[in-house]
Symmetry: C2
Subunit: 409 residues, 2 copies
């Protein structure tokens, strides 16, 4: 990797103050997997009986740790559990060697913590196709196990970063029958971000007591409205992993009827998803694209993603150019139903195209003012039906090229 | 549009010497549609009885001239015909006004040449969504009609340019029964290039005598192997148009059995298609991607296009980085069938990944040497079946961002 890229201009002012989640402990270490002079391994210990749910990349070339997690998710939630994450090497496209490397890590973590190996979940993120030096990770396992602490989630968020320019965290509290349950999550990701699912590592913890199947369905449904609605560059990682762990340590039981909890969980997920977009490689603008009037929600999503992934749309936004012709182009090429003469487009509050024709009242000045802002809202109405979708992306700038034209060297 | 971009480093040494095609005459004029100080309108007169075939964008938001051409193609090939092309304004997403503007141009050309209006084909290329000042074009029609000449095809290639950094031409001669037929073509296009079809304007002329239906099937089949196999940025224009005119002036009849002619025509089309890629906005590398061993040709094409359109692959090539992990990623995300453990990848002659694992003998040096060249060959074998596809693209560089972040202003 080249020099550290500068902090994204869209970064939050500071890492948020995340609550301690009872039943979750963190430790980080500098194992030198690839990076020097920084932490690159995270160990998370989850209390006995923690329910773990997961959502993973759909890539046909997914990594060894992803395949291992997918095999384990859904197993019995007895005993303590653990998550081990390393940055710097994705352990992807590493064949049998990669399976063995993942096994080394899970075995070492299970031994160090005295837990079952099938309760150890791992993620690896970084370069693809290089053998993972798992011995560097296992050599640190004793140090990690003895350094576990409930209040170092901020360090955890840093250890999992690759090209991220800032650590990402979000939290929520929900009142249920007069009692409080807490949710805290961390994420990494800034390039190779696209559904399904948005390319990232995401770990969310709650002290609520939730059955694993219920937790899984909450997480899956919420992922479709959050992480699966963001894109930076249309590229999908081989390593995308979201794990959500419910320790039950609050003693408060949550079921599928607790919509307040589901909404709060989605809020945390959306916050983290937006933070990933805001750290999109080279991003200078945060872009929301809302499509309405499509024949179906699926069509609306196809149009929205076609707009969000169009290099011409993204470079126009980088240039602060309200070039709605490129929106028309992206709708036209998406493959979903569209009628040129029913199509309307807004930049911010400004109607720029009205049913297939440049809007008569359209103020170039108002548009230009909106485009100069940090947050860009693009709205498209197809005038065909009731389908809607909202997706989020960033612009495509020189920064993206600089970061990605020299990653491996 | 900003300042003129510098000549593509992949440009040919010179515009080729194209043969005169009997029955075809050209005239160009500076109408000031948008650009100042250059020609921007082309009139082509085609002799009586010329057969005209066409292939067009499949965009759902295609332009008024494209819709007009599509209506006319397939009509009777009696009388003389004409092609009128303007650069600077695409007359796309211009509603009824756009239909009227196209009508103005076709009416003026028909009158100036004394031909039927349904034999006048037009194309417009440039900015989308702005009204086409068709009066500026019609004002030049008399000058154009009186300035027609058979040997100014090079001027024609220049008049149709937008962000192109060089005019594009190609030709071939075929011997049929001891007689010679000639083919000459011109093209424009450098951004918004993707199938279906590759975003461009292409005009090909031959003095062969060919039935319109036969010509159409030759052109359509050849387009699938040439213009529909190139991509610069995955974006599809609303204006893509390929017209192929056979004047018959050589007196040599060509039928579907003349494979020599079909091959020569495909050669001209492939040459022009490659020239478009070589003029890809910001391109510094010409990239051929060949996929074999796929379950079907369609799957091979899906993988090849996923690689060719991946921003991470394209930026790695820009950085002269043999980052085959990104090829794995692009195969994984394409949606077509792939088995990680059967996948092999070559850069140039160098096998870098062998059945799901880094190739043991892999020489970083040999790879690096290949990546420094101007032409990059990437070969992927899926090990699943007999499907193959070859596509062509270019790298993604700072130049692309510079050109497209400031196009309209």
């Amino acid at each position: 990797m080249g020099g550290t890229p500068p902090l994204s201009p869209l970064a939050p002012a500071a890492f948020p103050d995340l609550p301690v989640i009872k039943g979750v402990e963190f430790a980080t270490a500098a194992a030198g997997v690839k990076y020097a002079g920084r932490t690159d391994v995270l160990l998370v210990r989850l209390a006995e009986g923690t329910a773990v749910a997961g959502v993973f990349t759909r890539s046909a070339t997914r990594s060894a740790p992803v395949l291992d997690c997918q095999q384990k998710i859904g197993g019995e939630d007895t005993g303590a559990a653990a998550i081990v994450v390393n940055s710097g090497n994705a352990n992807a496209f590493t064949g049998r060697n990669g399976v063995a490397a993942t096994r080394n890590v899970t075995t070492a973590a299970a031994q160090a913590l005295g837990i079952e190996e099938n309760r150890v979940f791992t993620s690896s993120t970084g370069v693809i196709g290089e053998p993972l030096p798992s011995d560097r990770i296992t050599a640190k396992m004793g140090e990690l196990a003895s350094g576990l602490s409930p209040d170092t989630i901020a360090d955890a968020a840093k250890a999992i970063m690759t090209t991220d320019t800032y650590p990402k965290g979000a939290s929520a509290e929900v009142q249920i029958d007069g009692q409080t349950v807490k949710i805290a999550g961390i994420a990494k990701g800034s390039g190779m971000i696209a559904p399904d699912m948005a390319t990232m590592l995401v770990y969310i913890f709650t002290d609520a007591a939730i059955d694993r199947e219920v937790l899984q369905s909450m997480v899956s449904a919420n992922a479709d409205l959050t992480f699966n609605c963001i894109t930076v560059d249309s590229d999908t990682s081989t390593s995308d992993t979201l794990l959500c762990a419910a320790t039950g340590a609050s003693g408060v039981r949550v079921t599928e009827r607790n919509t307040g909890f589901i909404d709060a969980l989605r809020g945390v997920m959306l916050d983290l998803a937006h933070q990933v977009v805001r750290d999109g490689e080279g991003a200078t603008k945060f872009v929301q694209i809302h499509v309405s009037g499509a024949k179906s929600d699926a069509d609306a999503r196809t149009h929205a993603m076609s707009i969000a992934n169009s290099p011409l749309v993204k470079t126009a936004i980088a240039g602060e150019d309200a070039n709605w012709g490129r929106i028309v182009m992206a709708v036209g090429k998406s493959g979903a139903a569209a009628d040129r003469d029913q199509l309307s487009i807004w930049f911010g509050e400004e109607l720029v195209a009205d049913k297939g024709w440049r809007a008569p009242g359209y103020s170039e000045e108002a548009c230009a003012a909106h485009m100069k802002g940090e947050s860009i809202d693009i709205r498209v109405d197809l005038g065909l039906g009731g389908g809607t979708a909202t997706v989020w992306t960033c612009d495509l700038t020189h920064g993206y090229i600089s970061i990605n034209a020299d990653y491996r060297s």
